[in-house]
Amino acid sequence: MSPRIVHIARNTFREAVRDRVLYNLIAFALLLSGAAIFVGQISIDIERLVVVNLGLTAVSLFGVVIAIFIGIGLVSKEIEKRTLYTVLSRPVRRWEFIVGKFFGLAGTLVVNTFFMAIGVFGALLYVTHKFSRPDALILVALYFIILEFLIICSLALLFSSFSSPLLSAVFAFSLFVIGSFADDLRGFAGMAHGVTRWVATGAAYLVPNFSALNVISAVAHQQPMSSQLILQNTLYALFYTAMALSGAVLIFERRNLK
């Protein structure tokens, strides 16, 4: 991996931190502590369910929002502000710029998720007073959430490479929502006929499949996950991310900067 990519990634991370992004952790901590304490009034079984469901959903939503808000500006802001000029006049390839930005953003989210994970386990410990083996599944859910983040980051970056921040936010958010119902979309496509069917099926397979990666309910109910499924989902997320990034590179390579 070219050292330039690492430098760009580190700088992107630094920018996010100085943009006070990590302050979201405070809001998250407050939310989760409040919930844990509130829920402590109810019976044991539901406590755990609420903490896991709420905690993981918050990790997912906070992260998606951060990914989109930072992601949409990653390229467009640099073009707008012309900070790119002095970067691209150096031996930095355009594709290195895109890949570096991606890793910087993804890294920010991983760090963020790490702290949030501590929060979730902390809250869980508070309400159940001890961990049990199935709690390890929460790690699987967190892993899948990180896979989701990789996809969202790459999509936000893709849109940022050609579209204004506002439009990028709309596209990215729409894809997140649609992707969460990807299973149903494929169901709809299956029930359609003719041309609509082909178009719908095409769309249904191109939309990011977040419904497969959303295992929060299953984990809350302590359902085990097959390692095959984990592997397939990992590969899917990696390929999808690669696809979006390739698109971003293709677009950015040909862009005339104003």
Partner: protein, 318 residues
């Protein structure tokens, strides 16, 4: 070896709602810049100077034409390690300090880690940015930002430096410092290519200049040649507003400005002119060989049409 060879670079934008109307930002440009010279790229605002620079930097893609930089294809990423670029009104990551910015740029330019710290200090000193440790760039004044911009352009000791309007935003002292710096760069054997619309700077600094207007090259040449002495004429300046009759008889063109008079007379009459002033007890202020100014050349080139300028496309005096 030529530092820069521009071989027919041209740029046409498609504008309008349906992107149907072509707008020619730059006609096919042919230009060569030799190593070790300070080259001025002159023209009014909107002439195509920045477009040319952006194409050379790979920020904008030409509609046609190629270029070579230091002997390499201009799109070769490796050659960028040997060039520096200061854009017009530069913006930098304002959440970084100058040290951090230069460190980042140094990393991207491939300056080895062990040299970076030292180079950064050197270069900040050189541009006159001291006592700014820990200050984020968002707090810099325009002049300070310009200096930081110059710093990042020369940080990695490039052989060829591109400056786009380097004097903008600087006070007279700052401009003097930048001029000195550019001279120093030339002493170090570097090539400097800078664009400006301030002719006095160009006249003072450049070895050669090119003039561009409305996307078209109007003239190229050595500054010396373009501001050569006008054969056989001298300029006389004296105190007062009086014009002696004898002066008029010599065929002088006289202009009164404030409380001095400026006159142009044939060279072989200069003794007679001095005598005329002494007789009238008028105080002589200056007597110099007349040179055309770069400004005059500039204005002339701007006014002539392209066909009249056909000869101006090649290197040489006009």
């Amino acid at each position: 070896m030529a530092a820069i060879e521009i071989l027919g670079l041209e740029k046409t934008y498609m504008v309008g709602f349906w992107r149907k109307h072509p707008k020619r930002a730059l006609q096919p440009l042919h230009l060569t810049v030799e190593e070790g010279e300070i080259f001025g790229f002159l023209g009014p605002n909107g002439a195509g100077k920045t477009t040319t620079l952006k194409m050379l930097m790979g920020l904008v893609f030409p509609t046609a034409g190629t270029a070579r930089i230091l002997g390499h294809d201009w799109t070769d990423p490796e050659v960028k390690a040997q060039i520096g670029f200061l854009p017009e009104q530069p913006y930098f990551y304002d959440y970084l300090t100058a040290h951090e910015l230069l460190d980042y740029y140094g990393q991207l330019s491939g300056v080895p880690a062990k040299d970076r710290k030292r180079r950064i200090e050197e270069v900040l000193n050189r541009v006159g940015l001291t006592d700014i440790k820990g200050v984020q760039l968002r707090k810099f004044s325009k002049g300070m930002l310009q200096r930081a911009g110059i710093a990042q352009a020369i940080l990695h000791n490039p052989k060829l430096v591109f400056f786009d309007e380097p004097m903008s935003g600087l006070d007279p002292l700052g401009r003097r410092e930048v001029r000195d710096l550019m001279e120093q760069l030339k002493q170090e054997g570097k090539t400097v290519f800078f664009s400006t619309h301030i002719l006095s700077d160009a006249e003072a600094l450049c070895d050669r200049v090119a003039i561009i207007h409305k996307g078209e090259l109007r003239g190229v040449g050595r500054v010396e040649d373009l501001t050569a002495t006008v054969q056989g004429k001298v300029e006389v300046i004296w105190q007062g507003t009086q014009i002696p009759a004898s002066m008029k008889a010599l065929g002088a063109e006289c202009h009164v400005t404030g409380d001095t008079v400026r006159a142009v007379i044939p060279e072989n009459q200069q003794d007679a002119a001095i005598d005329a002033l002494r007789r009238e007890r008028i105080r002589l202020i200056a007597l110099t060989p007349l040179r055309t100014s770069l400004e005059a050349y500039f204005v002339e080139k701007l006014q002539t049409t392209p066909t009249q300028n056909a000869a101006g496309k090649t290197v040489g005096a006009v």
